[in-house]
């Protein structure tokens, strides 16, 4: 599988094309920014999923089924 070009990687992690000056940055810088964005997003998703799982255990038992369905749908 071909390696993704740094600028494409940055666009992918940002979810949009970055402003023009970012296209002229060295590939190493573009890749570092892409990596930082990916790490931040991954950290967020992991932390949030753990918090959701933990939170459900605090919901009163009679409501747990309905709430689990709402959250996990």
């Amino acid at each position: 599988m071909p390696e993704t070009a740094p600028f494409e990687s940055l666009c992918h992690e940002l979810g949009a094309e970055p402003p023009a000056a970012f296209a002229d940055l060295p590939g190493e810088t573009q890749q570092r920014l892409a990596d930082l964005l990916r790490e931040a997003r991954h950290h967020n998703i992991t932390s949030l999923n753990e918090a959701v799982a933990s939170g459900l255990s605090f919901v009163p038992r009679p409501l747990r089924g309905a709430i689990t369905k709402l959250v996990m749908r």
Binding site: G55, F58, L70, M72
Partner: protein, 280 residues
Amino acid sequence: MSEHLEHRAELLKLARLLNLDVEELPDLDAVPAAELRAFREAATDRLFDATAGTLGGISKSSRLVPAAVSATIARKAFGPLLCARTAAAVDPPRAVDIAKRLPKDFLADVSVELDPRRVADILAEVPDDLSVPVAEELGRRGEFVTMGRFLAFVSDAGIEGAMNSLSDEALLQTAFVLEHKDKLGHAVSLLDPARMPGILRCAAEQDLWPEALDLISHLDDAERLPVARALASLDEEHLTSLVAALDEVDLWDTATDVLGMMEDGPARKRLVAASGGRVS
């Protein structure tokens, strides 16, 4: 604001968003400040939208349990990040009801993770007796970027509470990374003018003249008057550091306006002499 200072402020804000020290960012000197800001805003949306689906369900589910239970779950299980991400989807009165049951330390943690643009409706309903202690706590922690993002969304009482709790250094640092600099003049007008000499001395002693000059550059003439009076009280050593900073960040135009408001005296004479003919 000079491009150089705006660029530096944007780097601080991008680093905060990514939970890094500014030194950990790659070299972005070639990117203009306006483009750094656009990049940061896109990155903010990306980070907040990544989990939007699950979070909508959590917000809906909070309606099914009493506010006290929601507050307990928020604090003991969800934590500040999840609360911040789900807040935007909770009805404002309900969100405020839950927030009132949470300790200010926890609310400060949540504030760090919030995007104020997404919870403006909630912030508009937060009473001062809730916002001021949280602002004070953020000030105590030195959460400059976080505080700078909230200014446009909190009441004058909240702004005053925060400013009163901030040290002179923290005030300068917060003003520097403020998200809505057009609100800076109003915030300064709420500040006790008696603090201005101390703020300027702090700028000299903590190497924060660029931050102070950036602040001054955003004030109108009336708001600059306390600055002009305070400048007259600075000693030779402080004035020497000011002159060096004015040369470094090229903000003599701003200084010229302020010098025009200063009463004639040793400080004004010293600055006029250093201005190289820019001021007479």
